[in-house]
């Protein structure tokens, strides 16, 4: 057999290391959009090696300073797209102002992958089984996009469109993600169910709630690994707003999931099992949220 057929090797491409956003956008356009931006490469390199993708040009965006760093900006924490998964664990500003992301980070892949994978790359890829894209929904985050037509900010609610499909157009870059600062009257919870630590979850969930004492004034519940996109469960959210987290309300929220989620057919995790796991997970997380008062 021809070695090219069996080897895990990428097709030939050219490589360009961009120093600025303008250079990256310009290179993309000049390659006739037959190009890919590479950040951490932790999803893109396997895709190239398996020849699922074969662009003419690879544009390395990891040396663009403007896309780095974590800082407060108004009522938001601005997390540069190039922030690595491991920095979500080590950066004190994330722990203080976006604790839900800090809590989710240890569940993203393995340590060596967290050392290279980037927050912006994870959001751009929009893998429905990934932790961070779903957390941007729970956090009501905004995604800053720069492209040939200028700069805009898109709410996470409007960003994830379908399987691996987002509001990002070809040739556009995510520069940063803006997360509303965590406040004293807010509570959060995160967990996932996976067969082994580090594996993609069978079901996972993150919750952000704004409370007045025991009363829930606002809640955003976002699941991953339940369908084509990260998914907010608005039926379950509605059953909880205006009430406290007693056993009866939690059961009502769990029951509402049946209307909120339509898990896809899968041999590994059949839809009924996934729905069951989602109910179990939601029950646990709401229980924890109630205790964290």
């Amino acid at each position: 057999m021809d070695i090219e057929e069996t080897a895990v090797k990428a097709r030939a491409f050219s490589y360009f290391r961009a120093a600025t956003i303008d250079q990256a956008l310009d290179a993309h356009a000049r390659a006739g959009d037959d190009a890919r931006f590479i950040a951490g490469g932790q999803s893109l390199v396997p895709a190239l090696s398996l020849r699922l993708q074969a662009p003419r040009l690879l544009i390395d965006i990891t040396h663009i300073d403007e896309m780095r760093g974590v800082r407060r900006e108004g009522g938001y924490l601005r997390i540069g797209a190039l922030t690595r998964h491991c920095e979500m664990l080590s950066e004190p500003l994330v722990a203080e102002f976006a604790p839900l992301l800090h809590a989710a980070a240890p569940f993203v892949a393995h340590p060596a992958i967290r050392n290279r994978g980037t927050f912006g790359g994870s959001v751009a890829l929009a893998d429905p089984a990934s932790e961070f894209p779903a957390m941007t929904l729970a956090l009501d985050a905004e995604i800053e996009i720069v492209g040939p037509t200028g700069r805009r900010r898109v709410k996470a609610d409007d960003f994830f469109l379908d399987l691996f499909e987002t509001a990002l157009q070809p040739g556009e870059l995510i520069t940063a993600i803006y997360v509303p600062l965590f406040k004293a009257d807010q509570r959060f919870a995160f967990d996932e169910l996976a067969r082994r630590r580090g594996d993609y979850a069978m079901v996972g969930c993150g919750i952000m709630a704004t409370c007045a004492g025991d009363r829930i004034n606002d809640i955003r519940i976002s699941f991953f690994s339940v369908g084509n996109t990260p998914t907010r469960v608005k039926g379950a959210e509605a059953t909880l707003i205006g009430s406290s987290l007693d056993a009866e309300r939690i059961a009502a929220a769990q029951a509402a999931l049946e209307g909120d989620l339509a898990p896809p057919d899968s041999d590994e995790v059949p839809p009924a099992m996934r729905l069951h796991l989602a109910r179990v997970l939601l029950g646990r997380l709401l229980g924890r949220l109630g205790e964290s008062a």
Binding site: S14, P111, I113, R197
Partner: protein
């Protein structure tokens, strides 16, 4: 000002010159952009201690230290590492920083065929330089991306655990 040369698009498999510091020595080599770092280390630099297993990030045989952090050398192209400092199992061995780990792996039969061992050692080295006294749970967590087809992991965890304890008894990490 774009900094982007139209020419690079036309000769995709033309090699480019990259420079890194590998195991403390400056090296330069010619690589095609599509050549992964693991292939560059093993072929051009003849550092075959770094193993290529799955070549898609799943097994951990290819771990190296890049600018002080453990990464999969199959999940990056050599051109991306231009300008970086890389330590492979050969460098860590020569410098003696993992001598105790290696001795303990040997003593406890924490390797059989040895295919996974370089990745295990590079990862264990990073873990112990960050966390002086990891719990067994933390050790397992750190190794969650390293496959071993032979040992069943228990002896590997034992060896790392024993070295962590020995190092902290002898007053700190190396």
């Amino acid at each position: 000002m774009s900094g982007f040369d139209e020419i690079v698009l036309d000769d995709a498999d033309e090699t480019v010159r990259v420079r890194f510091v590998v195991n403390g020595r400056k090296v330069a080599c010619e690589v095609a952009p599509r050549e992964t770092l693991v292939d560059c280390l093993r072929n051009a630099l003849e550092l075959t201690g770094t193993h290529a297993g799955c070549e898609m990030g799943a097994c951990g045989a290819c771990l190296v230290q890049l600018d002080g952090r453990v990464v999969h050398s199959c999940l990056m192209f050599a051109v991306q590492a231009d300008g970086a400092k890389i330590n492979t199992i050969e460098g860590l061995t020569e410098s003696g920083v993992i001598a105790d780990l290696q001795a303990e792996f040997h003593r406890r039969n924490a390797l059989q065929c040895g295919f996974c061992t370089p990745g295990m050692l590079v990862n264990a080295h990073e873990l112990l330089s960050r966390v002086a006294q990891p719990s067994r749970g933390e050790i397992r967590d750190a190794l969650s991306g390293n496959y071993c087809r032979c040992t069943g992991y228990e002896a590997i965890v034992d060896a790392i655990d024993a070295v962590a304890k020995a190092r902290s008894e002898s007053g700190g990490t190396t």
